[in-house]
């Protein structure tokens, strides 16, 4: 369906909204989403081509940060966990926390953090593989991470039936990053234990 046909098939009200600036439409959708919205989904929601929406998002980021014509905003636009979402500007998080009075979130144990790190870097990875790196049984820790939605079962190994785990978009959101590529680089050791080893000891 072309834009023309599309517009004709919709009612007059939608036509009115499509005559408004793209930035307004993007803001309207961002105000109601309850999880990060991917660029493509956002473009579909505002009936605009992806490049134009990407451009608009960049403009809004600058705008909210005070690099546009208006003042800096108390909120900001972030790309986190594979999508875009409005956040309270970091400077005001304490003020908002004070207002909401939220409870302190349960911290992950050191064992859980290390297991999470192994899974993040080695995914897809089985529990057995994680255990051999951590040199301890990781079953209960994996259960915790699954229950918190930080990791997920990806697929079962076709030969052994062992379940392979990977990280979720929710983990990315919790880390405040947009993709697993944004994890800090870790020693080349991890690519191949045997090869990297020489570097490791002689360094």
């Amino acid at each position: 369906m072309t834009d023309e046909e599309f517009r004709m098939s919709e009612d007059a009200a939608l036509e009115t909204t499509l005559e408004t600036p793209l930035s307004e439409r993007v803001e309207a959708i961002l105000l109601v989403v309850d999880e990060p919205i991917a660029l493509v989904a956002l473009a579909a929601a505002v009936h605009a081509p992806v490049p134009a929406v990407r451009q608009t998002l960049e403009t809004l980021v600058d705008d909210y940060d005070g690099r546009g014509t208006g003042p800096r905003r108390g909120f900001e636009l972030r790309e986190v966990g594979g999508g875009w979402r409005l956040y309270v500007r970091e400077d005001h998080d304490d003020l908002v926390a004070d207002f909401i009075g939220g409870q302190a979130p349960a911290r992950l144990s050191q064992a859980a953090l290390e297991t999470l790190a192994v899974i993040a870097y080695k995914q897809p990875v089985t529990r057995g593989q994680v255990a051999s790196i951590r040199a301890v049984n990781v079953d209960s820790v994996v259960r915790t991470l699954l229950a918190r939605g930080l990791i997920t079962e990806l697929f079962a190994d076709s030969e052994t039936g062992a379940i392979n785990y990977g990280t979720t978009d929710q983990l990315l959101q919790h880390l405040g990053i947009n993709s697993i590529d944004e994890l800090p680089p870790i020693s080349p050791l991890l690519d191949d234990g045997a090869d990297g080893f020489d570097e490791g000891v002689t360094r």
């Binding site: 105000l31 109601v32 989403v33 309850d34 979402r85 956040y87 309270v88 970091e90 998080d93 304490d94 908002v96 926390a97 909401i100 979130p105 911290r107 992950l108 144990s109 050191q110 064992a111 953090l113 290390e114 999470l116 790190a117 192994v118 993040a120 870097y121 790196i133 951590r134 040199a135 301890v136 079953d139 994996v142 259960r143 699954l146 229950a147 079962a156 052994t160 039936g161 062992a162 379940i163 959101q173 919790h174 880390l175 405040g176 990053i177 944004e182 994890l183 800090p184 680089p185 870790i186 020693s187 050791l189 991890l190 234990g193 045997a194 990297g196 080893f197 490791g200 000891v201 360094r203």
Partner: protein, 278 residues
């Protein structure tokens, strides 16, 4: 906002003598446990010179003064590291000789692999600090998450409901059940269980039907190692019950078995090999 790699390395470098956590005090080393590892992994301290028992003793007394989840974390970390250290130490203490024979090469490789494992473990442990920092920072963030206002709520498609009240109760059971992750059975990796009692019954029947029998004859035609082992254990058990006697003329030679029970009742089979029950 991806942190730069430097972020991670500063975290790692912060291993000065004042670092909190477990410290070891040895004749040749005094400092945090982590630093000990660091030195060993860089070969600046010979693993063979570290007294692991002393480290362990100090660690246990250190744990006594700790409370709460920190303790558990530190204890589990200690176990991981101590196990690796122990492996390294075993490899380091074993004589390696002057000659480069296959065995000592294998030994060196084993030690190298252990170093690699230790370094890998350390890498993950270090990067987990980055995870902790990010999670903590992001925990403090607030995202736009407000309910839709009334007029938009009404635009949501009408709900399709297909659960009966019993379905709903079943769902509640599921929701309240403790969360378990499915585990992969390993049964197929193990040989099927062999009953010592059943095999003992076979042994008894075979022995009573003839004058004497060699162990080789007793297991002839049996291909499963488990059954051979079970028959051998049965023989030992029956010997304990004085139900048979055996004769072996030379070490590793032929084992000849002879039924010698005076009062045997097959009911005795019921308790035979109970020591091997799980």
């Amino acid at each position: 906002m991806a942190p730069s790699p430097e972020d991670t390395s500063t975290g790692l470098a912060a291993q000065d003598a004042d670092a909190p956590g477990f410290r070891v005090s040895l004749s040749n080393f005094d400092g945090p446990f982590d630093l000990l590892l660091n030195l060993i992994s860089k070969h600046e301290l010979d693993i063979t010179e570290v007294s692991l028992s002393k480290v362990t003793n100090e660690f246990i007394s250190y744990l006594r003064d700790l409370d709460g989840p920190d303790e558990l974390d530190q204890a589990s970390e200690f176990l991981v590291v101590a196990a690796t250290l122990l492996d390294m130490k075993v490899a380091g203490l074993l004589p390696q000789g002057e000659l480069v024979d296959a065995e000592s090469v294998a030994l060196l490789e084993a030690r190298d692999l252990l170093f690699a494992r230790l370094l890998q473990y350390r890498a993950f442990k270090e990067v987990s600090a980055w995870f902790a920092r990010c999670l903590q920072r992001e925990d403090r963030r607030h995202v736009r998450a407000a309910p839709l206002d009334e007029k938009h709520r009404k635009k949501t498609p009408e709900l399709v409901w297909s659960l009966s009240v019993d379905d709903f109760a079943a769902l509640a059971l599921l929701a309240f059940a403790p969360k378990e992750i499915p585990s992969v059975g390993l049964d197929h990796l193990h040989a099927p269980l062999v009953s010592i009692r059943e095999q003992a019954a076979v042994v008894v029947t075979l022995l009573r039907s003839t004058d004497s029998l060699t162990f080789r004859e007793l297991v002839s035609g049996v291909s499963e190692p488990g059954i051979v082992v079970a028959r051998f254990i049965s023989v030992l058990e029956l010997y304990r019950h004085a139900a048979l006697s055996f004769e072996q003329l030379e070490p590793l030679g032929e084992l000849t078995l002879r039924w010698s029970a005076e009062n045997w009742s097959d009911e005795q089979l019921a308790t035979l090999g109970a020591d091997y029950d799980r």
